[in-house]
């Protein structure tokens, strides 16, 4: 079974440093998964291409445009995602946040995620752990311990460049372990956990709770049930 990995890149320029980092992480993920005898399909989504769709969703109470609906379904159906943002004004970019703002709150439940960011200077590196990591924690995604931060100087030679490469491979290895993990455990031997299903919010969930289950806790007192005239 081939694993589907979606890379979300929020870079704006062309060519984009953010996209460059995203592609390097994508290659490392591919290598780590194939190195373990499995295969991976990597799809890159440029959030810039969704900018107008995101603005439409924001101004219409969340109407999914066809393109946005497709990406939201792709993301929720993925086996893992790589999210890369440039640092703007001491945080992730507005475009990056807009995308996550239009997702269903259950869209990333249990999703393995690599977080990464680019900036002009290494002094922004805590954006990963102070802004991006809490965003995914809120969405109940599983973020790998190694975040990948790349300042401009990390693309050069010397110590900085070498450590960027090693961080990318370490993050990719942690990610591959999560993506390929089998669900283990024997039912009945552990307390039942309220594990939340992942939903894109685009398709209506047809497995709706039967109405009597919704009604029961409200009518347990003195309700004769069937009507009396």
């Amino acid at each position: 079974m081939s694993r589907r990995i979606v890379i979300l890149s929020a870079g704006l320029s062309q060519p984009s440093t953010t996209r460059l980092l995203a592609d390097r992480i994508g290659q490392a993920v591919q290598a780590q998964i194939t190195g373990r005898g499995e295969s991976a399909e990597v799809e890159v989504v440029e959030l810039k291409d969704l900018a107008i769709d995101l603005a439409t969703a924001m101004t219409t109470g969340g109407m999914p445009t066809p393109r946005l609906a497709r990406v939201r379904e792709t993301v929720s159906a993925a086996d893992g995602i790589v999210a890369v943002s440039p640092v703007f004004t001491a945080s992730y970019s507005g475009l990056f946040k807009m995308f996550f703002d239009v997702l269903d709150p259950e869209a990333l439940n249990g999703m393995p995620v690599i977080i990464a960011a680019t900036a002009g200077t290494p002094r922004h590196s805590l954006v990963l752990d102070h802004a991006i990591r809490p965003l995914f924690t809120y969405l109940r995604a599983v973020v790998v311990p190694t975040g990948v931060f790349a300042a401009t100087e990390d693309f050069g030679d010397g110590e900085a460049g070498r450590t960027l490469t090693s961080r990318i491979h370490r993050a990719a290895a942690e990610f591959a372990t999560l993506v390929l993990a089998e669900k283990t455990g024997v039912e009945g031997f552990a307390p039942i956990a309220d594990v939340k299903k992942r939903v894109s919010g685009i398709q209506i969930d047809r497995a709706v709770t039967p109405f009597m289950d919704m009604l029961q806790e409200h009518v347990k007192h003195r309700d004769p049930g069937r009507g009396q005239q």
């Binding site: 603005a55 439409t56 924001m58 101004t59 219409t60 109470g61 109407m63 999914p64 445009t65 066809p66 609906a69 398709q203 209506i204 969930d205 047809r206 709706v208 709770t209 039967p210 109405f211 009597m212 289950d213 919704m214 009604l215 029961q216 806790e217 409200h218 009518v219 007192h221 003195r222 309700d223 049930g225 069937r226 009507g227 009396q228 005239q229």
Partner: protein, 375 residues
């Protein structure tokens, strides 16, 4: 099939003239639209319910009672009545009185409301929106169907030995719709009781509406109220018409561009493509509206939004006139020609429901079969 208009009741500045109507003018204008609807042969007028500016309809039965006294045939309805923040006892009383005064020309649509602060203003919690809708509506059904109600629930002070006065007209509760844009639980609720399901339709794409209506239809059949295609469905629509479609687009564009809901967002052309909004000739509106049944199935009620975004009163009256004289007669003919004989044309009205007698399904609190859980 029934056709009518539904109004949000927003007080919005006219972006072309810069004129802001007063609250009083807006309320009176809504009343004129209702009278015009009857005059030109439309079937239904439905008002929204809001408890914050810039909206005026905070007391729908006051408005509908006014209209009832000045009309003969018009069906009076809501879009929607807030089942979450209103006391179900007061809803039962208000609509029971309205039923008597309007000789049964009354139905209503349940909705939850999406304005956060309205919930705490009425002592409720928006996070409990669905449980409130479930519990309050069940109590409402009992108040309209049982002589003496003993009730204890989670949200309302208990009732012991309560009898609704006045009882519903002919002991026949009004027909109820449930409206929801995206909550499958509400489609399930409508299906469970065999009530109608209304999809607002106008702010979102048709694929979404189709999924919600399909879910309702299949669950309606599951609960034994009839086949899926016999379920009672209503849809919203939004139109602006001129003889020449270019004139319609030119005249409506500033209202669209500045509309409170979607203004300053997608273009008129994009929104027209993605949603049921139709700005053009009456013929274009007819063609587009007939297409709704292609994905929602044969349905029973079509309500159009024509009076929002600051459109001036005379223009709205013209729109209602065009609907009544040019659009709806053709829609009636075409929809009925396509409708199979086993699918009802209209939602159940008072006379039909009263004629079904005291043992009919409509008079039962829970007429559903195939209950999935043990009561």
């Amino acid at each position: 099939m029934q056709f009518g208009i539904f109004s949000v009741g927003d007080v919005t500045i006219d972006p072309v003239t810069g004129r802001m109507p007063s609250e009083s003018e807006r309320l009176k204008a809504m009343m004129k639209y209702a009278l015009k609807a009857e005059e030109v042969g439309l079937d239904v007028f439905a008002t929204g319910e809001h408890h914050n500016p810039p909206f005026v309809p905070s007391s729908p039965t006051t408005m509908l009672g006014w209209i009832a006294a000045r009309t003969e045939r018009l069906q009076l309805s809501t879009a929607t009545t807030l089942i979450t923040t209103n006391d179900p006892v007061k809803i039962a009383e208000d609509f029971s009185v309205l039923q008597h005064l309007a000789d049964g020309r009354v139905d209503l649509m349940m909705g939850r409301g999406n304005t956060g602060p309205v919930y705490p203003w009425f002592g409720k919690d928006i996070r409990k929106g669905l449980p409130l809708a479930v519990e309050n509506y069940h109590l409402l059904r009992r108040l309209w169907r049982e002589k003496v109600v003993d009730w204890e629930g989670q949200f309302r002070t208990p009732l012991r030995g309560f009898t609704l006065a006045p009882a519903p007209l002919d002991d026949t509760p009004p027909f109820v719709w449930h409206g929801s844009i995206r909550s499958p639980e509400i489609a399930e609720q409508a299906a469970f009781y065999g009530d109608g399901f209304f999809h607002n339709h106008i702010f979102w794409n048709k694929e979404h509406t189709q999924q919600m209506v399909e879910l309702y239809r299949s669950r309606f059949e599951h609960y034994g109220h009839g086949t899926a295609d016999q379920a009672i469905v209503g849809l919203g629509g939004q139109v602006f018409m001129r003889r020449n479609s270019q004139d319609a687009v030119r005249e409506f564009r500033p209202y669209f561009d500045n509309a409170p809901v979607y203004g300053h967002g997608p273009s008129l052309e994009e929104f027209t493509q993605m949603t049921p909004l139709t700005v053009g000739s009456p013929e274009q509106v007819i063609e587009r509206t007939l297409g709704f049944a292609d994905y929602a199935g044969h349905y029973q009620r079509q309500l159009f939004l024509v009076d929002h975004a600051g459109l001036p009163e005379d223009v709205v009256l013209e729109q209602i006139e065009i609907l009544g004289t040019e659009v709806v007669p053709v829609l009636r003919r075409e929809f009925e020609a396509r409708r199979p004989s086993h699918v009802p044309s209209d939602p159940p009205g008072h006379a039909a429901l009263a004629a079904q007698g005291p043992n009919s399904r409509h008079r039962q609190v829970m007429p559903a079969a195939n209950l999935d859980a043990v009561a």
